[in-house]
């Protein structure tokens, strides 16, 4: 919520303008609207100012100013997050890193690069492409999301099944600590001595400071790839196939599941070639050396057929491969064709429990009078049930959040976790006690206090609230024009 009186806001604007230049600050309400939410649009919060530093020194100066003024602050990348993690829930300053988007150094011999946090994930891989390299962690939002955001959330993506998540690809970080000091954690050389503060910082959701330089591992593009689409008449068959593939000792590079609702939306939007009448499909990618790839593919096909696949297609060329992936990666966007809004969920379960949990999700969602579309990283048990709903219908949002909580409970009950890659942020802080004891949370709080003793750096995230600020209190408030029906959200 905005906390400053207009006079103070003007003063803040001038002070920040002196640090980053007058065109690097937004304080007008209309300007601040864009920065009210991330990709999880159900939650909104307004900053007092949004600032766009261009260097580490400017980031540090903004943090120092925030401290002097007693204002909270939170870093923001592209705002594609799906847990409300960059929302300024207590007002203050949003420090947007989008102007710090350079590749500072690429070292192909040592297979690393040094980048700024505002660099778009896919842009890094594209820059490395001509040399035959890429940056492996590939969140589905990689066309827009930034490396800094990836670090904050320890982002995953479909290919992290084989190649690991963000933390497995970060060697070092230059960090502006919440008190404004700049420090290097780790670096270019492997196995730095002492505690793994880099590993601790990755996934800390912007509560330990702001990464201003990132040393990442880059890897060679695999020489050969085979992408298959397995089609099933029953969801159960598809989910059993996932564990069957794993049990055969195969390590696909990616193993994604898409259900009927999602397939139909995707086909309407993109004509990716998915069969509209399938109950579920598995998108399976194998990569590596060409020698042996066919054999691996044969084993995967066998696993699919043994579990009832009615068809298994292999992409014949790169164009077909890209189309299959487009269908998967743009699925979220395609939901707009079948529903005015959708609530993206993120949970993890052991792969072997997939069939039963998918059935439970169907039951839970139906019991709340809603629909769900599933498109997710089946290979590592990372579920993304997308609850489809209409925010204009009274009470619907509340039912969505209730269904979501029940789904998270189901994941926990089978030994899973409440977040596979989107983070806790704002959305799930009150679910943390489902998987962590008081002592567990106290240890995390103790570590947080080392970095962020005042709590001013991204407050209100990750930890459960003592007073119950239920997510519903920050829920979507329709603009008066929308409430009257004069305009409509897309």
């Amino acid at each position: 919520m905005t906390t400053l009186a207009p006079a103070d806001r003007s003063r803040l604007r001038r002070a920040l303008g002196e640090l980053v230049g007058p065109d690097g600050v937004l304080t007008e309400p209309a300007e601040l609207l864009v920065y009210e939410s991330d990709g999880l649009t159900i939650f909104r919060a307004t900053a007092d100012a949004v600032v766009f530093p261009r260097s580490t020194a400017e980031v540090a100066a903004c943090v120092a100013l925030a401290n002097r003024e007693g204002l909270p602050f939170v870093a923001r990348g592209a705002g594609t997050g799906l847990a409300g993690g960059c929302l300024p829930t207590e007002g203050g300053i949003v420090i947007a890193l989008t102007r710090m988007n350079r590749i500072l150094e690429v070292d192909y011999t040592n297979q690393l690069a040094v980048v700024e946090p505002g660099l778009v994930n896919l842009h890094l891989s594209q820059a490395l492409g001509p040399a035959g390299f890429y940056y492996a962690p590939d969140p589905s939002s990689q066309l827009a999301c930034t490396l800094g955001g990836n670090v904050a959330n320890n982002s995953g993506g479909p290919h992290t099944l084989k190649y690991g998540v963000t933390t497995n690809h970060v060697l070092g970080l230059e960090v502006v600590l919440p008190d404004g000091e700049v420090v290097w954690l780790g670096g270019k050389v492997r196995d730095p001595q002492g505690y793994d503060l880099v590993g601790l910082f990755v996934g800390s959701e912007g509560t330990f400071g702001i990464a201003t330089k990132i040393v990442v591992r880059i890897v060679r593009r695999p020489p050969a790839v085979k992408t298959l689409l397995a089609v099933f008449d029953q969801v159960d068959q598809a989910s059993r196939t996932v564990a069957a593939i794993t049990a055969r000792g195969l390590t696909p590079a990616a193993l994604e599941m898409i259900d009927r609702i999602t397939i139909q939306a995707v086909e309407d939007a993109f004509h990716a070639g998915y069969p509209r009448d399938a109950a579920a499909a598995l998108l399976i990618e194998l990569d590596g050396l060409a020698a042996g790839l066919d054999e691996e593919a044969d084993r995967v096909v066998a696993a699919c057929r043994e579990n009832g696949a009615r068809e298994v297609r292999v992409a014949r060329d790169e164009r077909e491969r890209q189309l299959l992936w487009k269908g998967r990666k743009a699925a979220f966007g395609a939901y707009g064709r079948v529903s005015p809004a959708y609530f993206v969920m993120d949970g993890v379960i052991p792969r072997t429990r997939l069939p039963e949990v998918l059935r439970r999700i169907e039951t839970i969602v139906a019991a709340h009078g809603l629909r769900v579309g599933n498109v997710f990283h089946a290979g590592d048990g990372n579920l993304h049930p997308n609850i489809l709903y209409d925010p204009r219908r009274p009470g619907e949002e509340g039912r969505v959040l209730a269904a979501g909580a029940e789904i998270m409970k189901a994941c926990v009950e089978v030994g899973g976790s409440i977040s596979g890659e989107h983070g806790i942020g704002l959305e799930k802080r009150d679910f943390m006690p489902w998987i962590f004891s008081e002592a567990d949370l106290a240890t995390m709080a103790a570590v947080k206090a080392v970095f962020n003793p005042t709590g001013r750096c991204n407050p209100g995230k990750v930890f459960p609230t003592r007073k119950s600020c239920a997510p519903g209190e920050l829920a979507y408030q329709p603009h008066p024009l929308e409430a009257s029906g004069a305009i409509q959200r897309l």
């Binding site: 050389v189 567990d440 995390m444």
Partner: protein, 444 residues
């Protein structure tokens, strides 16, 4: 009976508390512990820690005892807490490729248990018959196969830890993707027991490879071998392990592995996976090594590959007259010039040298030997090697050395700018300074 001992007996039973001569085996650098205690379970270990905390007695966690001579000596009259009775395999779900086990299992016992279902945890640290999973994770030990499989930070999904005040806490979880809360497991891994005692771990598994094979390429000079290794590291073959050996390293490991190779600088490149792929990789590697000017290329079958990797992994144990072992890290591209300086330092100090380096990682094990060990000469050589590594932005730590050498040459580098943060984390999680105090980086 002193109060402390009585409390420990209450916690674990008198049969599992050893004092005096019975715990002489747990002395470190001539400092005997006050007692050595062996709890049966995580709960008992937590109870022991509560006793120690109440009495403000420093604690030295003890797994297999294979890394106890690293760092400054422990405080006098500490309490050794052994994890050797924590050996339960709590869960092994082959379809999930995960397992949750107690930390006192030796690596060998752990791999045997997992092997029953054709799986393994792809960690190959030294001394698997004695080192425990908890100890391996606490010291972040790894082996040559880290080139493909990574290290503990890439394989651990969750931990249970006994804290300095005797609570049992959980970090991470049991599933392969998990970003709920802070990644505290990363903090405990490699922390050498200074932030908590690891009692349980959930690890990622892989299927046991169907095939393994390797090439051993011998070269006239280390520089030639290093160039060949760099080409393999930057290529497409995806080796499991890529080791660069100097003449000394090649001599001892080749002999120990019973692989007929010359005592010349060498590249050992190994592969594992599908039979078809491995055969292709081995042939391609042999061609590349030949093209890079190898004087000889030996092809190793699966058993020979395993023996060779074991020998490289255990190189510390193969050096007669060993006086010190250090581990240095530099950029892979700096390895060959760095190793040249290491060789010069050893020669000037009159020390023998054997080197085995993970060529793709820039990490080198340096083993120094002498018939007439002299602390000053050894410490001097180590100091030069440290300076040379740090000048390249790298690091050097002592892995094995007499107390005399460790007094003359610190085990760890000076901590650097992040040291303050590390000390602050330690102060928060172990304010009384009871967990393995004084042995770690920055005097922690």
């Amino acid at each position: 009976m002193p109060v402390l001992i009585r409390s420990l007996v209450d916690a674990v039973g008198s049969a599992h508390v050893r004092e005096g001569a019975a715990c002489a085996a747990f002395a470190i650098d001539g400092r005997a512990p006050r007692a050595a205690v062996f709890p049966a379970s995580p709960d008992e270990l937590a109870a022991v820690m509560r006793v120690a905390a109440a009495a403000r007695v420093p604690v030295v966690p003890w797994g297999g005892g294979t890394e106890m001579l690293v760092g400054a000596p422990p405080p006098a009259d500490a309490l050794v807490v052994g994890t050797g009775r924590l050996t339960a395999v709590l869960e092994h779900e082959p379809g999930d490729l995960t397992a949750t086990v107690e930390a006192g299992l030796t690596m060998e016992a752990l791999q045997a248990a997992l092997g029953v279902r054709g799986q393994w945890v792809p960690l190959d640290p030294p001394a698997p018959a004695r080192s425990t999973l908890g100890g391996v994770l606490a010291t972040n030990r790894s082996g040559p196969r880290r080139q493909l499989y990574g290290t503990a930070r890439d394989l651990v999904l969750g931990l249970r830890v006994v804290t300095a005040d005797g609570e049992l806490v959980r970090a991470g979880g049991r599933v392969v993707k998990n970003v709920a809360g802070y990644d505290l497991a990363k903090l405990y891994l490699g922390s050498r027991g200074t932030l908590g005692i690891i009692v349980e771990a959930t690890v990622k598994l892989r299927p046991r490879p169907e095939a393994e094979a390797a090439c051993w390429g011998s070269f006239a000079t280390l520089a030639d071998a290093a160039r060949a290794a760099a080409a393999l590291a930057g290529g497409e073959l995806g080796p499991t392990a890529l080791e660069l050996l100097d003449g000394g390293g090649a001599a001892v490991t080749g002999r120990a592995a019973a692989v007929p190779v010359p005592a010349e600088p060498a590249v050992l490149v190994t592969f594992d996976g599908l039979g078809t792929t491995v055969a292709w990789q081995q042939a391609a590697a042999a061609r590349e090594l030949g093209a890079a000017g190898a004087s000889a290329v030996a092809r190793l079958d699966a058993p020979a590959t395993r023996r060779a990797l074991e020998a490289v992994r255990e190189i510390r144990t193969l050096i007669p007259g060993m006086v010190a072992v250090a581990r240095a890290g530099v950029l892979p591209s700096d390895l060959v010039t760095y190793l040249g300086e290491v060789a010069a330092a050893a020669a000037e100090a009159g020390l023998g040298l054997a080197v085995a380096a993970h060529a793709g990682q820039g990490l080198a094990t340096l083993a120094f030997a002498s018939d007439h060990p002299a602390v000053d000469a050894t410490a001097g050589a180590l100091a030069r090697c440290r300076a040379a590594a740090r000048a390249r932005g790298g690091h050097l730590a002592l892995e094995a050395a007499s107390i005399g050498v460790r007094e003359a040459c610190p085990t760890w580098d000076p901590p650097g700018p992040a040291g303050e943060l590390m000390r602050a984390v330690k102060a928060r999680l172990d304010p009384a300074g009871l967990l393995n105090p004084g042995r770690f980086v920055g005097g922690i």
